[in-house]
């Protein structure tokens, strides 16, 4: 159903990003790997508790969102660095930020669904 699709989506995007960002920023890489693992557990592990899949969706998207926030803040604060060293060129990894925003929306939606359903 829908939750499984979301989990698969998160799984694939996060492991891809984790792989490609390995040299760019180790925190982002490790962070996305954690997102990957969390969503994998949610998809493959069986647990009778009714909110099992929802929980994994929410947590993995929460972490994804935090990583996106980190990248955004890094970008914003590099403008501050520009004051000290004008040669600095602020840049942000758009894929990370974009995925972070997506994750935020997923998280909000899932929490709302949870509250409505029970």
């Amino acid at each position: 159903m829908k939750k499984n699709l979301v989990l698969i989506f998160i799984m694939t995007v996060s492991i891809t990003l984790a792989f490609f960002k390995f040299t760019y920023d180790i925190f982002i890489s490790i962070g996305f790997f954690t997102v990957f693992l969390t969503s994998v557990y949610g998809f493959f592990a069986y647990d009778p508790i009714w909110y099992h899949k929802s929980a994994h969706v929410i947590i993995s998207s929460m972490i994804g969102f935090l990583i996106g926030t980190y990248e955004l803040f890094k970008y914003l604060s590099s403008f501050l660095s520009k004051v000290v060293d004008p040669s600095i060129l602020p840049s942000a990894d758009l894929w990370t930020v974009f995925f972070g925003i997506l994750c935020f929306l997923v998280m909000i939606y899932e929490v709302a669904m949870l509250k409505k359903s029970k």
Partner: protein, 150 residues
């Protein structure tokens, strides 16, 4: 049946019977919600087995196994692996595994909620449901958690 709090498995409930500490520490437990007569349930166990988190009313309280051993609980049912649980009728509570094993067991007629009888024949574990009598290997029977009413 009275058992120490530390012997509970996740999902098991009971009623607090007595708290066996010296006065000052006992008072602390009382104040935190460990009041005799209240229902208590084990909800989380730490990665290394210790500490444990229990649910009393709406509170989740973490205590170490050592202290949990001194609190007696009156349980209405036992939860243990099919491997350990005493022979006789019991109810499948949960399957501790991935999706694959779960589906396989389900197709055999074993899934949470099902009642069956555990018995041994020539040292091997069998689980008899109203459909069939199934041989359970040691590894698998350690992954099936059963509930036995007392």
């Amino acid at each position: 049946m009275l058992v120490p709090l530390s012997s509970l498995k996740i999902g098991m409930k009971g009623k607090i019977q007595s708290i066996d500490f010296e006065e000052q520490i006992k008072e602390r437990f009382l104040a935190m919600g460990f009041v005799p007569g209240k229902d208590i349930e084990l909800v989380h166990v730490s990665p290394f087995g210790d500490p444990m988190v229990f649910l009393i009313d709406d509170n989740k309280i973490m205590i170490r196994r050592e202290q949990a051993g001194k609190i007696l609980i009156d349980v209405g049912f036992l939860i243990d692996t099919l491997f350990n649980i005493p022979d006789g009728m019991c109810e499948v509570f949960t399957i501790d595994s991935g999706m694959m094993l779960y589906e396989r067991l389900k197709s055999l007629g074993i899934y949470p909620g099902i009642t069956g009888e555990k018995h041994l024949y020539k040292g091997r574990i069998f689980f008899r449901t109203n459909q069939k009598d199934i041989l359970m290997g040691k590894r698998i029977s350690r992954k099936i958690l059963c509930k036995k009413y007392l």
